[in-house]
């Protein structure tokens, strides 16, 4: 089993390597000269040429890639000629801010989605079920930026409950409570669509599991319904719920970019937007890479969780190894 876990973790290395090559090539394919866009249209040919030399753009692609990889392995994401700062310094704190937003919205959509789905499934056909599934359908059909604007208008402008933008209040000492206060609206805006998706999937999975012979069998022993629902129904519905939640992380990271723009959240989305518009290739590369790595790690976690949750899967792994 340990060997499987180690193998699975090692197997992410070629994937990550592939991601770096892909990202590198993608940037090479984008038309336009980065040196020219940094210096502006009025720059002389000599100035552009010397900056190209400085940035290493005249080297062959293989040399450029290996030197970039060499930096990466040392934890150095490169240097942004547009911002005149090392990218690690600029991007990493922003990436962490984005992760705060993503993780918060993931928590919201998983917890609320599962609870809503569970209640709907257990009260299948009731008004509660129809209402929450109706709301879920509407929620899943709304674009993130629009939800963000609506939430901002309703809760910040009309009711004044939450701050309009930013991560901390500039005039206060900050701290956890302040962060949380700023986090709630963007996190909800980001989470809505995924929440609806998870709620609907949870509902249908739970309804399926409720029909399983073993659930009915345990009911025939007169065990209390709530106990069976938690111990057997929810437990056996977890794998698909975890799978879909893992897939939602990608959507959440994408949706977070919109929320960041609307709520002025200092995350990686804003930075990438600026980088793309100014042809800041090293920053774009680094940003895509960070997001890709996160995605690979999330998938790894989902896979390992699924194995951990399924005795049958563990056995088939053992017999394959033996």
């Amino acid at each position: 089993m340990t060997r499987f876990f180690i193998n699975r973790i090692l197997s992410t290395i070629p994937v990550l390597l592939g991601v770096t090559i892909f990202v590198f090539l993608l940037i090479q394919l984008i038309p336009g000269d980065p040196a020219k866009s940094i210096l502006g249209g009025d720059a002389t040919a000599e100035a552009v040429e010397s900056l190209r030399e400085e940035m290493g753009l005249n080297e062959s692609m293989i040399v450029q890639y290996t030197s970039w990889m060499g930096q990466l392995l040392q934890g150095d994401l490169g240097y942004s000629h547009t911002l005149h700062t090392p990218i690690t310094e600029e991007l990493l704190p922003r990436f962490l801010n984005s992760m705060i937003l993503t993780v918060a919205s993931l928590l919201i959509c998983v917890v609320l989605g599962v609870v809503l789905g569970l209640i709907s499934a257990l009260r299948k056909g009731s008004i509660l079920d129809k209402a929450s599934m109706g709301v879920a359908l509407i929620g899943a059909s709304m674009p993130v930026f629009w939800i963000a604007l609506m939430l901002m208008w309703l809760f910040s402008l009309e009711m004044g409950l939450f701050p309009v933008s930013g991560m901390y209040n500039m005039r206060s000492p900050g701290g956890w409570m302040d962060l949380l206060h700023h986090l709630i609206l963007p996190a909800f805006a980001t989470a809505t669509v995924s929440l609806a998706v998870i709620a609907r999937l949870t509902r249908s999975t739970i309804i399926d599991t409720l029909q399983k012979d073993y659930v009915k069998y345990f009911q025939s022993f007169g065990l209390s319904k709530s106990k069976i629902n938690i111990v057997h129904v929810l437990r056996n519905s977890l794998p698909p719920i975890i799978n879909i939640s893992g897939m939602q992380v990608g959507y959440l990271m994408g949706g977070a970019l919109f929320s960041e723009v609307v709520f002025n959240w200092p995350g990686i989305g804003q930075a990438l937007y600026v980088a793309v518009t100014s042809n800041d290739y090293p920053t774009i590369q680094a940003g895509i890479l960070l997001i890709a790595i996160t995605f690979v790690i999330v998938n790894l976690i989902v896979d390992l969780l699924n194995v951990w949750l399924s005795p049958k899967l563990q056995d088939s792994i053992k017999s394959n190894a033996g």
């Binding site: 065990l223 056996n236 005795p311 049958k312």
Partner: protein, 344 residues
Amino acid sequence: MIQAVRKKEAFLNVTNLMTKIHTPEGSMTVLDHINLSIDKGDIMAIVGESGSGKSMTIHSILQMITKNLLDSYAGEIEVEGKSILDIGEKEMQQIRGKKISLVAQNAMTSLDPSYRVGKQIIEIILDKTNLSKREAIEKALYLLEEMGIDEAKRVFQSYPHQLSGGLRQRVVIAMSLACDPDLIIADEPTSALDPSVQLQVLELFKKINRDLGTAILIITHDFGVVARIAESVAVMYAGQIVEQGKTSEVIYNPQHPYTNSLLNCIPDLDWIFLDGVGKKPLFQIKGEPPNLMNLSSGCRFANRCHMAKDICRSKLPELKKVHSPDLNHLVRCLLTERRESYAK
């Protein structure tokens, strides 16, 4: 040595049970005037083809028909003299598992794949009794050993998918005994098993009955199973009991044409190995059971009965005693009634 005769003590009494369920076309009577009586220590069988109401009978007894499906119950179901049809869900939970428990129909799918077998047995014991966890583990191991499982400890620690079909069936039977019920109801307990294992499981039921005094109600479509294990049998057709009595009486002296046909449907080895000469085609009951939504006023079996007369199609026979050494041999057939009256 003379063994004391076990005094029969009534346990389950079903009187004129009528169960109606909702269907898209309206309310449907799936059980019609079912009368059953099981004493402590009895082994009884209910036989019938699919859709005859066998499973509905046990689901009615345990009151496990889902609310959305159930229209109404009528009649009476008594456990130890106490009516259970109008008691609440809480009290009913005290009867399920503790007084009457079910042996799952399909052992392959009736155990939770996510938990070890032992844990599932303990879960029931802990929930329904006051035993400590340690005692519950001991009891579960004891039950598994009683089921003739050699490596009880290993089975206890296994997940369901790691066990063979026969072992799983034994586990399910052990589970049904977890809270020392007075009656276990086994719904087609051998249908999913290899023939060699079927016999072992039936022997196991007999052993449980002998050693623990547990009454057993076995639901099956196989008269072979009935003959091997049951003391009495009820034959069901289209929601009604058509014949009922001691197993030997019903098998050797069947009075209802349907029972007769069912018995004729069993292929024997002669039939299987006889080639060409003298080989009769295997008996089959032609036609299909009637639609319960659209019943004629006559006998429900009339349309498939090779003996049916005109009167069979217009008058519904009642379940009546027949002249037989078994005083409780009942048959629902007008022709039998008529024959009996001539004999007198």
